[in-house]
């Protein structure tokens, strides 16, 4: 297939390992990946903060960047993010129509209909549950709210993970609970967000996993920030990074601040 990649603004600048792994994975599976360089952002941050008018040009840029999928230049668009896929599918059209841009809204909906979150693309479009990956580590998985409830990806990511050779998947207690990120919620309601994060970090630590995996680097940035602050020694990885890993081309574990070394039973002060 010819697949266009939405890198997402957050991953493009902060976590390029996720879109890079998506490229690596899809190319290994025999597909051709395209990156329209005019893309920037899907508009989710503006929309969910209430700035609909300001979101319109952002949405327009996204829709124009990916419109060639409607002309058959590509077969599908893949997004390595549940929340960005959710925004593309459930919000972009509404934002355009709200601004009286009905034609753009219709075009947004049409592009969205050919846009898939990574696990949806792999399982539903490409018909895979085993992508031939190898990743010999103890992993726990956070399903992320928008993947779970806005997109309804169900257990697709877990099915993909269970098929990875060598991977030990440990259940995350309270997995379906929100980590407290919520975009600008983390800033506007920082103490409440931190209270939710504390509980999520404690759940992740209780699994004794080496790495926390999710399908969305926004949530991973939040939970990872909490794990790092607590020196939990548990890193974060995108689902794509795990699925891209093979025996010949393994994805290394991410750097994760670990507990400080103990000397004579006392923790060395930070």
């Amino acid at each position: 297939m010819r697949i266009a990649l939405t890198a997402t603004c957050v991953a493009d600048s902060m976590f390029p390992q996720a879109p890079r792994a998506t490229v690596r994975l899809l190319e290994r599976l025999g597909h051709e990946v395209f990156f329209p360089a005019s893309q920037a952002c899907c508009g989710q941050m503006h929309i969910n903060t209430g700035y609909m008018d300001e979101a319109v040009p952002v949405v327009r840029n996204h829709v124009e960047s990916f419109s060639p999928v409607l002309d058959g230049e590509w077969d599908a668009v893949v997004v390595p993010s549940g929340s960005c896929t959710g925004s593309i599918r459930h919000q972009q059209g509404m934002v355009c129509r709200r601004a009286g841009e009905d034609a753009l809204g219709a075009r947004a909906d049409a592009v969205a209909a050919k846009t898939y979150e990574l696990s949806e693309l792999l399982v539903d479009v490409l018909g895979l549950s085993d992508v031939g990956a190898h990743f010999a580590h103890r992993v726990t998985f956070h399903p992320t709210c928008h993947s779970l409830r806005m997109l309804g990806v169900g257990d697709r990511p877990e099915r993909l993970l269970r098929a990875v050779a060598g991977l030990e998947l440990v259940d995350l207690p309270g997995a379906d609970g929100c980590c407290g990120f919520g975009g600008t919620f983390a800033l506007k309601n920082a103490p409440t967000s931190a209270a939710m994060l504390d509980d999520k970090v404690a759940a992740v630590r209780s699994t004794a996993a080496e790495v926390l995996v999710a399908g969305d680097y926004s949530c991973l940035m939040h939970i990872g920030g909490g794990l790092s602050r607590q020196h939990a020694g548990i890193g974060t990885m995108h689902l794509a990074e795990v699925l891209a890993s093979t025996v010949d081309d393994p994805t290394p574990l991410p750097h994760a601040p670990a507990p400080r070394t103990r000397t004579a039973g006392a923790e060395v002060s930070r």
Binding site: A7, P36, A37, G50, G180, G182, N189, S193, A195, H222
Partner: protein, 522 residues
């Protein structure tokens, strides 16, 4: 309905805001006298301020977490056994959409049928009008004491306080509502209004405020319930007037309905001579058959019961049986304002089950008082600001649509499928639009405008990515940032921030995938 006796919180004397306060303040003053707020739909500080205070109460958080996870599990198990649950949700949503589309005609149909069966219908534009109508009806009955069935509509209009000003004493007969009333408190949950109280506090409230409480009362739930039962029995047997809300009103028969767990409602609805029902105009269903949908979804969603113990239905007056005078007060109080918003009106579909509160991770951490309204939680965050409208920039209710991570748990459990996350986003846009009219833009407004320019163009975005070099320097060799100045300190207070990548994805792509001469833009 059911009352959970296990949750403490401490209130500070003179805390007129009625918000939850940090633990450790005035332990000698576990309750009141706390003046009832002037407006039950808008009291105290903004949500972030009130939430910050509530989060300091570790005990409340632990107990709320326990209570909500218990009821979540109960609900999930009884919902899971209904094979056509999703179809019932769809039916509930369709009925309510139909009601909102034809509300004026349906209300007049209800009025005709209630009147034909001997009831009297009153129309109240707002809280003041509703309170005045009820006070006049009570006075006309020649009494200065009434019993009450738990009702959100009467909480919303501050009826008890208005009646007190008119010299009429109202007694709440739902156990949890009685606790809240005796403590001169505000409810913190739609279904379990005293969810923030623990049994020891309830014991002290009863001993201090309930004249006939036994002196040797312990904090055993059964003893507390028996004390309230004895106290209320005397009220039931002497009351001449009862005041209720309504869960449903059937337009084509003029039938009203209250569902409950304790039986206090049945006593109020059958024993007194006069019954006054105050009902929000959105509580209608078109036909009697429609009740079958909600009588299945409401108890399972609210108390996690297959069926509620008491379902009372009454139609006008029946000679020789039950109240001989029936008055129905139809309350607007901002509902037509919500109805005028083609997106926001879905909040009026709510049947007050409170399932969205019980699954909300934000409510679970901060409790109900942080929302500053008798309607807390996710549904409160979309209903309250619509009922009150905005009083302009700085209105505490304008902070409510932002009191959510948009995690969607509320939408998943709503028995009438209210898309609360979408409503929250819609109402956030109303706040942003209102702020946009200001001469001096807000910080958020300016930032979003600037970000819009950058994020709507791949070239400008790539250029902005070059600017992140500063953040990389801040992060240093560790690869993450631990302290940032305000406002980014809101993030770094509890989380590290990873350094932006040395090489952005688009730079990597350009290097790896594009041969000279190949077009770079698709």
């Amino acid at each position: 309905m059911s009352t959970y006796l296990g949750l403490p919180t401490l209130r500070r004397k003179g805390d007129a805001g009625g918000r939850a306060t940090p633990s450790g303040t005035r332990p000698d003053e576990p309750f009141g006298p706390v003046p009832h707020p002037d407006d039950p739909l808008r009291w105290g500080e903004t949500f972030p301020q009130a939430a910050r205070a509530a989060l300091g109460n570790d005990q409340m958080r632990a107990n709320l977490g326990h209570a909500t996870s218990t009821i979540r599990a109960k609900r999930a198990s009884v919902v899971g056994e209904v094979p056509d649950w999703e179809a019932l949700r769809d039916a509930g949503a369709a009925i309510k959409t139909h009601v909102m589309a034809g509300l004026p005609d349906l209300l007049e149909e209800l009025e005709r049928n209630v009147t034909a069966r001997g009831g009297v219908v009153h129309w109240a534009r707002d809280a003041a009008e509703a309170n005045r109508i009820v006070a006049e009806l009570v006075r006309a009955a020649g009494v200065d004491e009434v019993v009450k069935v738990k009702s959100m509509a009467t909480q919303e209009i501050g009826l008890n306080e208005a009646l007190a000003e008119a010299g009429i004493a109202a007694t709440e007969t739902d156990l949890a509502e009685l606790i809240v009333q005796l403590a001169d408190d505000m409810p913190s949950h739609i279904l379990v209004p005293a969810i923030h109280r623990n049994r020891e506090e309830i014991r002290r409230i009863f001993l201090e405020r309930m004249a006939d409480a036994p002196a040797d009362l312990t904090d055993a739930p059964r003893e507390l319930a028996m004390a309230a039962r004895a106290h209320l029995r005397r009220k039931f047997l002497t009351a001449k007037v009862a005041i209720s809300g309504a869960n449903f009103a059937v337009a084509d028969t003029g039938t009203l309905s209250v569902v409950e767990s304790e039986g206090n409602g049945r006593m109020c609805l059958t024993l007194p001579e006069t019954l006054i029902t105050v009902m929000g105009i959105e509580k209608l269903v078109p036909t009697f058959t429609d009740l079958e949908v909600f009588l299945q979804t409401l108890p399972r969603s609210s108390t996690g019961e297959r069926m509620n113990p008491y379902t009372s239905l009454w139609t006008g007056v029946t000679p020789g049986d039950g109240p001989q005078k029936f008055h129905l007060v139809l309350l607007d109080n901002g509902r037509t304002r919500a109805l005028a918003d083609d997106v926001g009106r879905a909040a009026l579909h709510c049947i007050r089950c409170s399932a969205c509160l019980n699954v909300c991770p934000v409510y679970e951490r901060v409790g109900g008082h942080a929302y500053g309204s008798v309607y807390p939680g996710p549904i409160g965050a979309v209903l309250t600001p619509q009922l009150t409208g905005s009083s302009g920039h700085g209105d505490p209710n304008s902070s409510l649509p932002f009191a959510s991570t948009l995690c969607g748990a509320c939408y998943d459990v709503c028995p009438v499928k209210i898309d609360i996350p979408s409503l929250l986003v819609h109402l956030r846009a109303r706040v942003a639009d209102e702020d946009r009219g200001r001469r001096v833009p807000t910080g958020w407004g300016a930032a979003m405008k600037a970000a819009s320019a950058v994020m709507s163009d791949g070239g400008r975005f790539a250029l902005a990515e070059k600017g992140t070099v500063v953040a990389r320097i801040l992060a240093g060799r560790k690869g993450y940032v631990r302290h940032l100045p305000f406002p980014a300190s809101a993030w770094t207070a509890s989380r590290d921030l990873p350094a932006p990548a040395k090489q952005t994805f688009r730079d990597w792509w350009a290097k790896e995938h594009e041969q000279p001469g190949e077009r770079s833009d698709r």
